[in-house]
């Protein structure tokens, strides 16, 4: 879809409420969350999924995008800090701009932290899902820019870790600048005699 047709096309939102096995579903009534978004403007479909991030889960969403012409997706599952990249990739695969995705955090912010109050957790989950729908309807496609990159790595610290990282990079053809504040590399390791578990010399 090019930019002009996109802008003229009305939003068609798909909402997917993930059970995360029982991580979410044990506390949050996922069916109630689905029902709370179904009547919202522009929501074309809302479903529950056992695991949204799994291959079959993603397949359901992709199929809906194709079959129903969805152009914006809400995934109500875990923290976007965990799976936003997963679902953005799914959007790309399905031919949608990855920035037309919004996640509602039902696991870290509802089921895991309000375990003893399922009703309140469900109310909160519904609010978060509805907020995500309101937001996703207003999102615009975004396009990253390609920039040149310097194929060189700065390694700060010349102990065993710094040395190993520097060697792996350099052996693979990358330039490395290894910075050590002491007069020699080697770090703490150089001071050790035999080391466990092999009981051999550390240098």
């Amino acid at each position: 879809m090019d930019a002009s047709t996109f802008l003229s096309a009305p939003p068609r939102v798909g909402v997917y409420v993930c059970h995360c096995g029982l991580n979410i579903a044990r506390v949050v009534d996922c069916g109630a969350v689905v029902r709370s978004v179904q009547a919202m403007d522009d929501v074309a479909v809302a479903r529950e999924l056992p695991y949204a991030c799994s291959e079959p889960g993603q397949q359901v969403i992709k199929q809906d995008i194709e079959d129903m012409g969805l152009n914006r997706i809400v995934v109500a599952s875990c923290s976007p800090r965990l799976h936003e990249t997963t679902f953005r990739q799914m959007m790309r695969d399905a031919g949608l701009n990855p920035f037309l995705l919004e996640m509602a955090n039902l696991r870290e912010q509802c089921s895991w932290v309000h375990m003893h109050d399922p009703e309140a957790a469900t109310r909160k989950a519904a609010d978060l899902a509805r907020m995500a729908v309101s937001r996703v309807r207003r999102l615009s496609p975004l396009h990253p820019q390609r920039l040149p990159l310097t194929k060189k790595t700065l390694v700060i610290g010349g102990g065993v870790a710094g040395i190993q990282a520097a060697l792996d990079l350099a052996d693979s053809g990358y330039e490395v600048v290894l910075v050590e504040k002491r007069p020699s590399i080697g770090g703490m390791m150089a001071q050790l005699d035999k080391t466990f578990p092999t009981m051999d010399c550390s240098i």
Binding site: K124, S134, L149, I156, L169, S184, F196
Partner: protein, 606 residues
């Protein structure tokens, strides 16, 4: 070590420290200060003539002060680079009348007293932080008598003593009388797993280091009496249990219980009082030598680097990874990775494993030779810009150009914009659009949240990197808090415009919380300073308008502070309960009357 020193693609800078890092993934601009070595690194053959004639004697740091070195010295025999180094603070000076003996004997003329510090600038695509750790100084644990009794050593001092390359060439002697000990004791968890002094975490390596030391001692002298005082022996790694079993089979006694006191006997031996947890009895053990298995703590340079790179630390003081399981070597900032003890205490094998992982993650980013930028950046709508210059003033990245005199509208260098949104929040005319976090996008979230029963909800703005991550951390730890909190995520707290808060109060929000990274930890250098100023300004305005300023709260919650997040939420709930329906109605009335607090029209959403 030697491989790293001679690798054609590795530029090795010793005596060097990173002083400044600017830029972003793909192109970080780094300033490095290389301190003068006063010896030509390439020409020096490490013949050692200079050190032989140097009259200055100093304790040798490499041997933990158990031997001496000169003011011009080689750090240790296998040092890389192998060149000698001169400590200018210890050297008597280059005036021939004073000394300069080393210059006279150096045939190759490598020594140069006029060498000066060098500032080196490099551009790199990725950064690996491997600053390592420091060992715990047990002097504060006075009951063990370290520094009071010469035969109480740290495990690191013991390590040098037993090392064939060490001050005694590997022969174990007591420091008080140079006699070979007949009995040696080890005290575990010194400065680790302690709520009282030292650190609360397990330092990971000390158990196995002690097991190793007992085996090495038994190799030296099979009849040596060895006792280990411990709380738990953690031999969890591959091959570790074997070593532990071997140590016990060789007759090393493992006694469950940490010594309460250590006293010195007239012959320099040590009497250790310990409550044996297996028997429940108080026991006394006389030992010729006592080794304190000291724990690991973050390196001194950790804090400085954390501030320079805008990274986060855990409550232990080590670097915080982007995700503890799925991204264990990535920093939250793209293009920065961790290796070794910088991220937490670990042994050599784990350090090497993590280093290879970090290298692979860095290569994965660099292999295509180009980088895709995050398109979450700000844009100016030129026709609405009045060229006041506020955006340029608040931008932490100098990404905004505006000519106030000529009144040319602001422009944003997209490549330099990191997307904090502070400019959009501060723009007085709404001329800046913060992509993906536009005014309308956020306002819609507020409207939906407050559409039903607004008085019951705690509206919280949380920045992506710290506070939102702190909420995640509360979730992962299953910390329970009041269920009426509703989070709106922005990349930075700097994005939270005044208009969002007024809008929320106008829609009947009882309380609003703005949360972000602690001052100094901001992912966008110092954007949260503007948040702080803005909130202070708003609270003054609230006071003037007759709205209780406490209803707007600002809290800093780091990514590691799940406990703090839950606590803040409980406090917010208390605050919310103090807000009456009448108070909310009054606020809505006040805000509807006041023009300057009404939400601005959003310009970029046509």
């Amino acid at each position: 070590m030697a491989d790293a020193g001679r690798h054609p693609r590795i530029t090795l800078l010793t005596l060097s420290e990173v002083t400044d890092i600017k830029g972003y993934v793909g192109n970080f601009h780094v300033k490095i200060l290389k301190k003068a070595r006063y010896v030509d690194e390439k020409a020096c053959t490490a013949c050692g003539e200079c050190a032989r004639v140097c009259p200055v004697v100093r304790p040798d740091e490499f041997n933990q002060g158990l031997s001496s070195r000169k003011a011009i010295y080689s750090p240790f025999p296998q040092a890389v680079p192998s060149a000698y180094v001169l400590n200018a603070n210890e050297c008597l000076g280059h005036n021939p009348a004073v000394c300069a003996k080393c210059i006279a004997v150096c045939e190759k003329g490598c020594i140069n007293f006029h060498m000066s510090d060098e500032e080196i600038e490099v551009t790199v695509g990725t950064i690996i932080v491997a600053v390592g750790m420091e060992s715990y100084d047990p002097t504060e644990l006075d009951e063990y008598g370290y520094t009071r009794f010469p035969n109480v050593l740290t495990s690191l001092e013991f390590e040098r003593l037993i090392n064939a390359g060490g001050p005694t060439k590997g022969e174990i002697v007591r420091l008080s009388d140079r006699r070979a000990p007949r009995s040696v004791g080890f005290v575990q968890c010194v400065g680790s797993r302690s709520a009282r002094k030292g650190r609360s975490y397990c330092s990971n390596v000390c158990c196995m280091n002690t097991v190793k030391s007992t085996l090495v001692l038994k190799e030296h002298d099979p009849d040596l009496d060895i006792k280990v005082f411990y709380i738990d022996i953690r031999a969890f790694g591959k091959g570790f249990e074997d070593l532990y079993t071997r140590s016990r089979r060789l007759g090393v006694r493992y006694i469950r219980g940490l010594p309460g006191t250590v006293e010195e006997l007239p012959d320099g031996s040590l009497r250790v009082a310990v409550e044996n947890a297996a028997t429940g009895r108080l026991e006394f053990h006389d030992l010729d030598m006592l080794v304190l298995a000291v724990g690991i703590q973050p390196a001194e340079s950790t804090r400085k680097l954390q501030e320079m790179l805008g990274l986060q630390l855990t409550s232990d003081g080590f670097f915080l990874e982007a995700h503890p399981k799925l991204q264990p070597v990535d920093a939250a900032t793209r293009g920065i990775f961790f290796a070794g003890c910088a991220e937490g205490p670990k042994d050599i094998k784990d350090s090497v494993t993590q280093a290879s992982a970090a290298a692979a993650r860095a290569m994965r980013l660099m292999q295509w030779g180009e980088i895709l930028t995050e398109p979450i950046t700000a844009e100016v709508v030129a026709e609405h810009c009045i060229a006041c210059g506020r955006c340029a003033q608040v931008c932490p990245y100098n990404a905004v150009t505006v000519d106030k005199k000529k009144k040319t509208p602001a422009t944003i260098t997209t490549a330099a914009c990191a997307g904090c949104g502070t400019c959009a929040a501060e723009c007085p005319t709404g001329a800046i659009i913060m992509n993906h976090f536009k005014d309308i996008q956020i306002r819609e979230q507020i409207d939906t949240m407050l559409a039903e029963n607004p008085a019951e909800k705690i509206l919280t703005f949380a920045c992506n990197w710290c506070s939102y991550a702190g909420a995640d951390s509360a979730g992962v730890s299953r910390l329970q808090y009041p269920p009426n909190a509703r989070l709106i995520r922005t990349m930075c707290s700097g994005r939270v415009a005044e208009s969002f808060v007024w809008h929320a109060f106008q829609k009947g929000a009882p309380v609003v919380l703005v949360s972000g990274c602690h001052i100094g930890d901001c992912h966008y250098i110092n954007a949260n300073h503007w948040t702080e100023k803005r909130i202070a300004k708003m609270r003054k305005k609230m006071e003037k308008l007759g709205i209780r300023p406490e209803r707007l709260q600002l809290e800093w919650v780091s990514a590691a502070e799940g406990v703090r997040f839950a606590k803040v939420m409980a406090q917010m709930e208390q605050l919310r309960q103090s807000v009456t329906a009448e108070e909310i109605a009054e606020t809505v009335r006040i805000l509807c009357e006041h023009k300057d607090t009404r939400p601005q029209t959003d310009d970029g959403d046509a």
